[in-house]
């Protein structure tokens, strides 16, 4: 019987795992067995099917992906990532408002990779999550987008600015006005630092907050009711950094850099 590719790839975890393993490079049968924790008896029939379907080729002792095998793996990987991201916390994702994401970044949400869902205890609801605070203070370069004002944000930015961290702040007009009127002293100090740049976004973006540093990404989405329910995402994956950097770039293109006359005026 002639199997379709859908059948070959999706109807057997073993076959799928062989393909994903060979993406890493050629392997002989012993290494395949060890990596996948299988026996010759259990794995050989699957290898034969993949050979027949020309998804893999045999090269001496080694098996490797054929060109079309590579194309298949490159296409299934984003789907597998997407499904894993969703399935790890399905209830969380079902209740998120993701409509504001630009289309190309929405469909690549799987690039968040191996993320953690951060849910604070009730008694710490109004502190910055420890996972966020600990990690951000270890960063040298930080880009933040905010549309809501966390009461501890100004002191955090100040701390970063004092440490000489290169800080790019993107915020909505509303968030900026609130910061300026409620934390005038801190804001003046933050914005007078030469390491800080500020961009104001004219649009009202329903993304409470996003932070990208050289080594981690921190994301807060709204839920479908338009509320922030304190459930955040942190990811240390390279792919997540790239994804989030693109999102920041997207907002940069919709923002205007602001220079501070009142800061400069006081200096002169």
């Amino acid at each position: 019987m002639r199997y379709s590719l859908i059948n070959i790839v999706w109807y057997s975890e073993k076959r799928k795992n062989i393909l994903l393993l060979l993406k890493e490079g050629p392997r002989d049968i012993d290494r395949i067995k060890t990596s996948l924790n299988e026996t010759s008896r259990s794995i050989m029939p699957q290898i034969k099917k993949l050979l027949q379907k020309k998804l893999i080729v045999q090269n001496g002792e080694d098996y490797c992906l054929s060109e079309i095998g590579e194309l298949i793996v490159e296409n299934i990987e984003p789907l597998l990532d997407t499904m894993r991201v969703i399935e790890e916390n399905k209830d969380f994702w079902i209740t998120r408002d993701l409509d504001f994401l630009p289309q190309h970044l929405f469909s690549r949400l799987g690039e968040l990779g191996h993320y953690l869902l951060v849910e604070p205890d009730l008694n710490r609801m109004f502190e910055l999550p420890r996972e966020f605070k600990d990690n951000i203070l270890k960063s040298k370069k930080v880009s933040c987008f905010i549309s809501y004002v966390h009461p501890q944000a100004p002191s955090l930015y100040l701390e970063l600015a004092d440490k000489g961290v290169s800080l790019s702040l993107f915020m909505t007009n509303v968030a900026f006005l609130k910061l300026k009127s409620e934390y005038p002293k801190e804001m003046k100090q933050i914005l007078s630092s030469s390491d800080v740049e500020l961009f104001l976004c004219n649009e009202n973006v329903p993304l409470p907050s996003l932070a990208v540093t050289g080594w981690f990404t921190y994301l807060c989405f709204l839920n479908v009711e338009g509320r922030y329910d304190h459930r955040d995402i942190i990811s240390f994956d390279e792919s997540a950094l790239l994804w989030a950097t693109e999102l920041i770039e997207h907002y940069r293109s919709k923002s205007e850099r602001i220079y501070f006359p009142y800061v400069k005026a006081e200096r002169t």
Binding site: L5, K54, E67, I68, L71, I72, I86, W93, I94, F106
Partner: protein, 258 residues
């Protein structure tokens, strides 16, 4: 059903319904018509997709939930490329896909519902019939000529003189051949405003492409680096876009000579 993978791939109806709804929300009648099945036979797949939170019912219409759309957008290219490669597996396995940039190879699924044209021996040096018929309906033409076919040049200059927008990309060796042996045709192209000729500046040989607003004709060399007269022809919108993107990719690495 336990996993999203099973939900999509273990039922033809669930999968096709998800792909259909990627186009937008549909009423039950629209789903019946588009899928060519009775609503009765769709009731179970619909229920299953709802239970997996991939589908919602809103204002008389079925639509993908947010995560449903996310998963389906990622599953569609997988299904497309698998369909492409399933059809004519031997053809694809014998192609030199290295010649096509990786990011375009990955999008091969966009070729859609293509046909593989293999001329009979006696017609080997004619242009494919379906192709000649479609080209006369096109209002613009972009073409990569990676091998020299005498009929192309005169056909393109004929069409250009009728006012059709024509962009041709040649390899250095084809361009040499034209300069040496086809001065007259070259001169004709130079006198027409709507004809543009580019010479590809890189050593590698791109596949042959003819893409218009009507069709895409693609000639990928085999693994031995030879043209074996087997061409891909597609009329799908996504294939036209793919061909156009690929053509423009090559233009970026080219020099304009006419």
């Amino acid at each position: 059903m336990e996993t999203l993978a099973e939900t999509i791939w273990f039922s033809e109806k669930r999968k096709e319904l998800m792909f259909l709804l990627l186009e937008g929300a549909k009423t039950s009648e629209e789903i019946e018509t588009k899928m060519g099945v009775s609503w009765r036979s769709m009731m179970l797949p619909v229920k299953e997709l709802k239970e997996m939170d991939l589908l919602v019912f809103e204002d008389t219409k079925y639509k993908l939930s947010t995560i449903g759309r996310l998963v389906t957008e990622n599953a569609k290219p997988v299904s497309d490329i698998m369909n492409i490669l399933d059809k004519n597996t031997d053809y694809w396995a014998s192609r030199d896909l290295q010649a096509i940039p990786r990011k375009f190879c990955r999008r091969l699924g966009e070729l859609g519902d293509f046909s593989l044209i293999e001329p009979e021996l006696k017609d080997m040096f004619e242009l494919p019939e379906s192709y000649v018929a479609s080209i006369s309906r096109s209002s613009h033409i972009m073409s990569v000529l990676s091998f020299f076919h005498p009929s192309y040049l005169s056909m393109f200059s004929d069409m250009a003189s009728k006012g059709i927008e024509i962009s041709v990309l040649l390899t250095e060796s084809v361009w040499q051949r034209i300069k040496e042996d086809f001065q007259e045709q070259k001169g004709r192209l130079e006198n027409i405003d709507n004809a543009h000729v580019f010479v590809y500046q890189h050593g590698s040989i791109p596949p042959g492409i003819v893409v218009t607003d009507v069709f895409l004709l693609l000639s990928i060399f085999n693994k031995q680096g030879r043209y074996d007269h087997r061409d891909i022809l597609s009329f799908d919108e996504s294939a036209l876009q793919w061909g156009k993107d690929l053509f423009l990719h090559y233009v970026e690495g080219s020099m304009k000579v006419i």
